[in-house]
């Protein structure tokens, strides 16, 4: 019960962040990109909670609005890589044979290259922009899900309930997606939740290096990058988006951990009941 409450608490916090990201542009009273050079690099005050950047833009406002780009692009990236990787992995695990060998060798190639270096190369070739950064990271993140799903399907498909499903006249798609998927879903969701933090950091990293979101978009990684030269004179410019990344990554990591703990307990409870 304690684990369930913990999971619920972090779910509420994560939903809170997603809600902020969703409604921020509609509830703010200033244009987050509007420049006011007279108020450049103002320290945090009542008027500007997180201070202002070198163009006089309100940092609090930009952190709120930046959540949309940072959080949603991360969620989209994790969703796409988990769905794509899991589907590929399930097909490989179920059919095995030549298809499995070819795709898994391909995933080995992707896994053998340092992820961030590969993403940098892809983003460098494709050019800047958040869509290209998401695509670059998608290329390096799907093999993890494919490997996970494949190993799970390889073990699940030997279970008698899959034989029973075949005998009930289910076709291959029904067996993979209706019978096997629900039994590996918890594992995939846990991995995806734990991946949100990592992907957010990597996406912010690409933006920081100028290969992600483009100015004047409010995006946390890009905001940190543009403020890095002022870390000694105006630290709030880099601390505000840095703090936002820290809080968001921590909440999603804790959500992933608590969800995994909760799933473990449920699994054990079901196991003991059946005995």
């Amino acid at each position: 019960m304690k684990r369930k409450s913990k999971c619920l608490l972090f779910s509420i916090l994560a939903i809170g962040i997603v809600t902020i990201a969703l409604i921020a542009p509609y509830i703010t009273y200033y244009d987050s990109n509007k420049q006011d050079l007279m108020n450049a690099l103002q320290p945090p005050s009542k008027e500007h909670l997180f201070g202002t950047d070198r163009y006089g833009r309100d940092m609090f406002l930009r952190v709120l609005v930046g959540a949309r780009c940072s959080v949603f692009s991360t969620l989209l990236l994790v969703f796409l890589s988990s769905v794509f990787g899991t589907t590929i992995g399930m097909i490989c695990g179920y059919f095995e044979g030549i298809v499995d060998t070819v795709i898994m060798k391909l995933s080995d190639v992707f896994l053998s290259i340092p992820g961030m270096v590969f993403a940098l190369a892809v983003a460098g070739v494709l050019g800047g922009g958040i869509a290209n950064a998401v695509f670059a990271l998608l290329l390096i993140s799907w093999p993890k899900y494919a490997r996970l799903a494949r190993s799970q399907v390889l073990s699940e498909k030997r279970n008698t309930y899959v034989d029973a499903a075949i005998l009930s006249g289910s076709n291959t798609i029904q067996i993979i997606f209706i019978h096997i998927l629900p039994n590996i879903f918890g594992m995939v969701v846990t991995t995806a939740l734990l991946d949100i933090g990592t992907m957010m950091m990597e996406l912010a990293g690409l933006s920081f290096l100028g290969l992600g979101a483009m100015p004047p978009t409010a995006e946390w990684g890009l905001m940190m990058s543009s403020g890095r030269s002022m870390i000694q004179t105006s630290p709030w410019v880099i601390l505000a988006p840095g703090f936002a990344i820290f809080i968001t990554v921590s909440i999603f990591n804790l959500l992933g951990d608590s969800y995994r703990d909760w799933m473990d307990v449920r699994h054990k409870e079901k196991g003991s009941t059946s005995k």
Binding site: N159, Y161, D163, A164, L167, S168, S170
Partner: protein
């Protein structure tokens, strides 16, 4: 008698070791055939090949005169209208996250039987298998192993098959539940004129339950015959050993 199932020269190897070697037998309609042998003798492999859960390396399987040895896709799904199987561990044979009723309905729904008719049939089967109707909304971990095996029998009978294969289906049950289960199977067999292939390593149980017994060892049929004749006049040393082991109490 009408031959409903015929197995001819069936062979299957795993890692160059023959699990099933030149096995041939026939099963007539309404007959209960017991296949007995020690673990690893190839009994379950034969059952799995008949149900197309495994591919045969050689040989043929005929269902109502039609060769089903290599059927795939739609034709494979067609044979499950006629052949069903009940597994050894009932809890593992049900999807852990689906209600028993959903699993029982599945075969009928896959045969495009309307939801209403399928549900009516499901409740009839639960009643026939002496299970309370509310068990349709229970999960496998919420019922006992005996009740789960009854639900597995209901699922196997849902599509009105003519042949049901029981692969060590009573081995995981305690003696009293085993007796109840055999009574139930006898009743259902007489009621619907079903054909059973009953796989077990328990010769005493098979003697009481089956019309004919096939003894297997190391993938081959070593002896075949009527239960009483085979028990009283065994012709092979292996059958004698099995009899001694089964009736030593």
């Amino acid at each position: 008698m009408n031959t409903i199932l015929e197995v001819k020269c069936l062979e299957k190897s795993y890692h160059q070791k023959k699990a099933v070697n030149q096995v041939s037998f026939q099963v007539s309609k309404g007959e209960i055939v017991g296949i007995v042998g020690e673990s690893g003798s190839g009994k379950s492999t034969i059952a799995r090949m008949i149900c197309r859960l495994e591919d045969a390396d050689q040989g043929n399987i005929y269902l109502n005169g039609e060769n089903i040895t290599k059927v795939i896709h739609k034709q494979q799904r067609e044979i499950y209208k006629h052949i069903q199987m009940v597994f050894q561990n009932p809890k593992e044979s049900f999807h852990p996250k689906r209600k028993l009723g959903t699993s029982i309905l599945e075969g009928m729904r896959n045969q495009k039987i309307s939801k209403k008719s399928a549900e009516t049939r499901m409740y009839e089967l639960l009643k026939a298998c002496e299970l309370p109707l509310e068990y349709a909304v229970r999960y496998p971990h919420e019922v006992s192993i005996g009740e789960c095996q009854r639900a597995a029998i209901a699922r196997a009978l849902a599509t009105k098959p003519s042949i049901v294969i029981f692969d060590e289906a009573t081995s995981s049950l305690d003696v009293t539940i085993q007796k109840q289960m055999l009574d139930l199977l006898h009743h259902l067999q007489k009621q619907d004129d079903l054909t059973y292939i009953f796989i077990s390593h328990d010769l005493a149980l098979v003697q009481q339950f089956c019309h004919r017994i096939i003894i297997m060892k190391e993938g081959r049929i070593v002896e075949e015959g009527l239960p009483d004749k085979l028990i009283n006049n065994p012709t092979t040393t292996y059958t004698k050993e099995l009899i001694e082991a089964a009736f030593c109490w």
